[in-house]
């Protein structure tokens, strides 16, 4: 019976609704095991000295000011962009809502890079919802429960996503390697124009991820004339194992 279950689970998607139901059941376990960490956080907050808080406050104020200034610029640029797009009659950009979620657990299996977050269907998170942190794309939701969901990171060995080089829009597919700090570009011709330091953005092809979010930076390119494709290593931008708070990008399909 167990063997039959395994095969059904691996080769069909009949059990997916059941597994999503089960996510609700599992959430309390992750919540409890996360308690020591939360207590530590809380204690850290409470025991902070006044000077430290004041310093942090002023630093944050500066940061807010800088960011606000940048948003002002952005608003103008966005208006211009919409105008240009209208001139070109291209499809309208979709509205995106961003939701802050807390990471409540990580998968106990060392072979898969999966996070458990505390937002689910009740908050609008669906299977396929893109998850990112402040610095880049992290992954996508693979199972959405009612109050929690499982997020497959882009570094998982079974994950691949379409990307684009910021500099010249060369398209490629970035594949997870099972290593938290490395992605690989698949099937990129030896002659393609890519170099170290290039920033990769999600290209939005494939329809899973919204376009234009930073994915990673190229750290090494090896071209072997004897082989058809270049070996390109990419360091992901997102803090794969450090983010406590993540952003769920909910695309409103209207």
């Amino acid at each position: 019976m167990a063997a039959a279950l395994i095969l059904i689970n691996l080769y069909t998607d009949w059990l997916d609704p059941l597994k999503e139901r089960a996510a609700n059941l599992a959430a309390p376990f992750y919540w409890i095991t996360g308690t020591p960490g939360r207590v530590g956080d809380w204690a850290g907050e409470q025991l902070r000295s006044r000077e430290e808080l004041a310093e942090e406050n002023s630093r944050l104020k500066h940061q807010v000011m800088l960011l606000e200034q940048q948003t002002q610029l952005l608003a103008a640029v966005r208006a211009e962009n919409t105008q240009l797009k209208e001139l070109m009659n291209s499809a309208e950009s979709v509205d995106q809502k961003v939701l802050v979620a807390q990471v409540i657990g990580v998968s106990p299996d060392p072979l898969e890079h999966v996070l458990i977050i505390d937002k689910g269907r009740n908050d609008g998170v669906r299977q396929g919802t893109a998850i990112m942190d402040a610095s880049g794309l992290l992954g996508q939701v693979v199972e959405a429960g009612d109050i929690s969901s499982r997020v497959l990171l882009i570094t998982d060995a079974s994950h691949a996503l379409p990307v684009q080089v910021l500099r010249n829009s060369v398209r490629a597919v970035a594949e997870g390697t099972g290593d938290l700090y490395r992605l690989k570009l698949r099937h990129l011709a030896n002659t393609s124009d890519i170099r170290e330091g290039d920033l990769l953005l999600s290209s939005g092809l494939g329809g899973r991820f919204p376009a234009g979010y930073p994915v990673g930076e190229v750290i090494s390119v090896r071209r072997d004339p004897g082989r058809a494709f270049a070996d390109v290593d990419v360091q992901p931008r997102g803090q794969m194992n450090r983010s406590r708070f993540v952003l769920a990008v909910i695309v409103d399909q209207g």
Binding site: M1, A2, L5, I6, I8, A26, S107, P108, R150, A157
Partner: protein
């Protein structure tokens, strides 16, 4: 024989499930002992008349659901472990601690082997024999944990 204080079994299983998903640093993940397998072995040896393969299967399904692994993976491996443990419980009870430790290593090794087999069905490969580490840590945990469990279970007269 009447069931008595069975809640304790459930309690130990719940604790094991918690430990199974407890966040650990990345480098330690490979060494996480298989707490559920340890408990299944312990309880089947202690109460072979009432706890058997079915019990192990339920624990396994619970572990699958909580850890989000392939449904049935732990159910299968724990059932097999329970089966072997039931076959040999009379001998295991008579073993001295060192022999018990070795036998637990073998049983949990089978558990890990089956788990690894399901992993490879899903296309995940493990470098070398690293998947056997939990068997070692579980075996080393056995002589520490079982006297405890044994004494609590006797005091509560779990039947």
């Amino acid at each position: 024989m009447d069931a008595h204080n069975r809640w304790f079994i459930l309690f130990t299983i719940l604790v094991a499930l918690l430990l199974a998903v407890m966040p650990l640093p990345l480098e330690w993940l490979w060494f996480r002992p298989a707490f559920c397998a340890l408990l299944v072995i312990f309880w089947t040896i202690r109460m072979p008349q009432s706890l058997g393969v079915g019990f192990a299967w339920l624990v396994g399904i619970a572990q699958d659901l909580v850890t989000g692994s392939t449904l049935g993976a732990h159910a299968l491996s724990l059932s097999v472990v329970a089966y072997f443990s039931l076959l040999t419980y009379q001998r295991t009870r008579a073993f001295n601690p060192a022999q018990q430790l070795m036998w637990v290593f073998v049983l949990v090794g089978i558990n890990q082997l089956l788990g690894n087999w399901v992993h490879s069905l899903a296309g995940k490969t493990v470098p070398g024999l690293t998947f056997l580490w939990p068997a070692l840590t579980t075996a080393l945990l056995w002589p520490v944990v079982t006297p405890w469990l044994q004494s609590i279970a006797s005091r509560l007269r779990v039947r």
